[in-house]
């Protein structure tokens, strides 16, 4: 089985770009990825594209061919949809494609256009990641679903909204200097605490923004990297995926995310590492409580301990395990179908020393990305390591 290298990555600005189609956004990110990789587009053998709500936002299905066309690539191209984990799952498919010898060069990423819809319609579109019959028709929104998990967490483990505000403050701090981030604005705990409610106990600063953007990367086999003398010091050494029952009401517990536990365990075993070996992580903080659940599911913290990790300084840029040095979904933004791929792009740069926050993790060799769909009914986890 060949090892998979990250040859290059590209991102658009994450932000409010309602006039830009997802195909145009992906064209920009993909072009940047090919240039960064120094790989000829003719060498790309397959395209893996993540997108969640194209039908609702752009009246566009069948986006795989469009994604390849946007890059002038003549190769099989498939769209992957797993809600907010769409491009994390696409990355996993791309990794497996290279590993099993089907291809030496693949392009993988995702794009999402969201701000062209009014907020209520975007809320409606995001809600379809939940169970339509038993959740959406009962009035559950996407923030509302995480609010139920947060409420259950408080009930079982304690913790406070103020603990969660520290996660938001940390991720905003990390986004300062990230030219791709939607917010490059410091916030304080008081501001987060006083923000208006979205779905109590979730308030505005607990929630990621609505974002347009795209991410892409070129993955190559070890042998291709050597033959073409590529500067590709980072490898994806572990991949894992997990699923859970779609509706919260059908799960045994509301305060754990078994799909992420499974994906993490599989990815760590695949890479031959333990949670203790991990130097930094990019996790799916669509809401502040989601970051707490993620770092617990990955085994970095015991259940009930994740919520105050940022407050204790353990997951800040200067902590033992920096989490979301990109700014996370919270401050960098969350163009749903692009998020999983963008986490991997950011992580590769962090480990390669080319990220604005690389100095915070100068000696780091192992990073983990965690991309969750819906209320974590889908999760893709990847392990990235410095191999050169």
């Amino acid at each position: 089985m060949t090892r998979v290298r990250v040859a290059g990555g590209g991102l658009t600005h994450f932000g409010v770009h309602p006039e830009r189609t997802s195909r145009a956004l992906f064209g920009e990110a993909g072009e940047a990825a090919l240039e960064d990789a120094g790989v000829d587009r003719e060498d790309v053998e397959s395209v893996f594209f993540g997108n969640f709500m194209g039908e609702l936002a752009e009246h566009q299905g069948h986006m795989g061919p469009l994604a390849a066309e946007a890059l002038g690539i003549d190769a099989p191209s498939t769209r992957y949809e797993s809600a907010c984990a769409s491009s994390g799952v696409a990355v996993r498919q791309a990794v497996q494609n290279v590993r099993n010898g089907e291809a030496d060069v693949v392009l993988v990423g995702g794009a999402e256009r969201m701000n062209n819809l009014p907020t209520a319609e975007t809320t409606d579109a995001l809600a379809i990641a939940a169970d339509d019959l038993y959740e959406v028709r009962a009035g559950m929104t996407f923030p509302g679903a995480y609010a139920l998990m947060e409420d259950a967490y408080f009930e079982e483990h304690g913790g406070t909204r103020e603990d969660l505000a520290h996660i938001a403050v940390k991720n905003h701090q990390n986004a300062l200097g990230n030219e791709y981030a939607q917010f490059q604005k410091e916030i304080d705990v008081e501001t987060a605490m006083e923000a208006p409610p979205v779905a109590e106990p979730i308030h505005l600063y607990d929630a990621c923004p609505i974002t347009d953007g795209a991410a892409a990367m070129v993955l190559v086999s070890d042998s291709y990297a050597e033959e073409h003398d590529l500067d590709a010091p980072i490898a994806i050494t572990g991949t894992g995926q997990g699923s859970d029952r779609l509706a919260l009401q059908d799960r045994d517990e509301l305060t754990r995310t078994p799909a992420a536990e499974d994906a993490g365990a599989e990815a760590f075993e695949d890479a031959g590492i333990d949670p203790d070996d991990v130097d930094l992580a990019e996790v799916h903080d669509c809401f502040t409580i989601a970051e707490a659940l993620a770092i617990e599911a990955l085994g970095f913290f015991e259940p009930g301990e994740g919520i105050a990790a940022a407050r204790r300084g353990e997951t800040t840029a200067t902590g033992d395990l920096p989490v979301n040095l990109s700014g996370g979904l919270k401050a960098k933004g969350h163009p749903v179908g692009a998020t999983g791929a963008s986490q991997v792009v950011e992580m590769a740069k962090l480990l390669a020393g080319t990220h604005h926050n690389s100095d915070a993790v100068a000696d780091a060799t192992v990073g983990v990305t965690h991309n969750a769909g819906g209320t974590v009914a889908s999760t893709a986890v990847h392990v990235l390591e410095v191999v050169e």
Partner: protein, 129 residues
Amino acid sequence: MSDEPARDAGYDDFLDAIAEGEPYYLECPEGHGSLPPRQVCPDCGASELSESELPEVGTIVAHNVVHVPTPRFLDDTPYATAIVDFGPVNVTGQVRGLDPQDVENGQDVTITIGETETDGDRLVVFEPV
């Protein structure tokens, strides 16, 4: 083909049963509970599913108060949604008969069918015992 939206078999039957005061859940030979539509038990795959009576009273295990709704609930905010434990199954619905801010976990409720303020669509509603 008709211009009327089709029923969702199983789900709409479940709501009808609640409205008639005879709510049920699906039970497999192993005793796992689930809600329709189901071909097999999601826990064990058993295909012999029978309708069993849903316990009359359930307990709220988690709740929220929604302020930013989807279009179908624009005139309904703020409202509380809750996940209610009925024993063999949990059910999600809107809590009525209480100020949303007064809803608490541990509260015992019964299940009924209500309509949204916005469009009059029917939905699962919980009322305090």
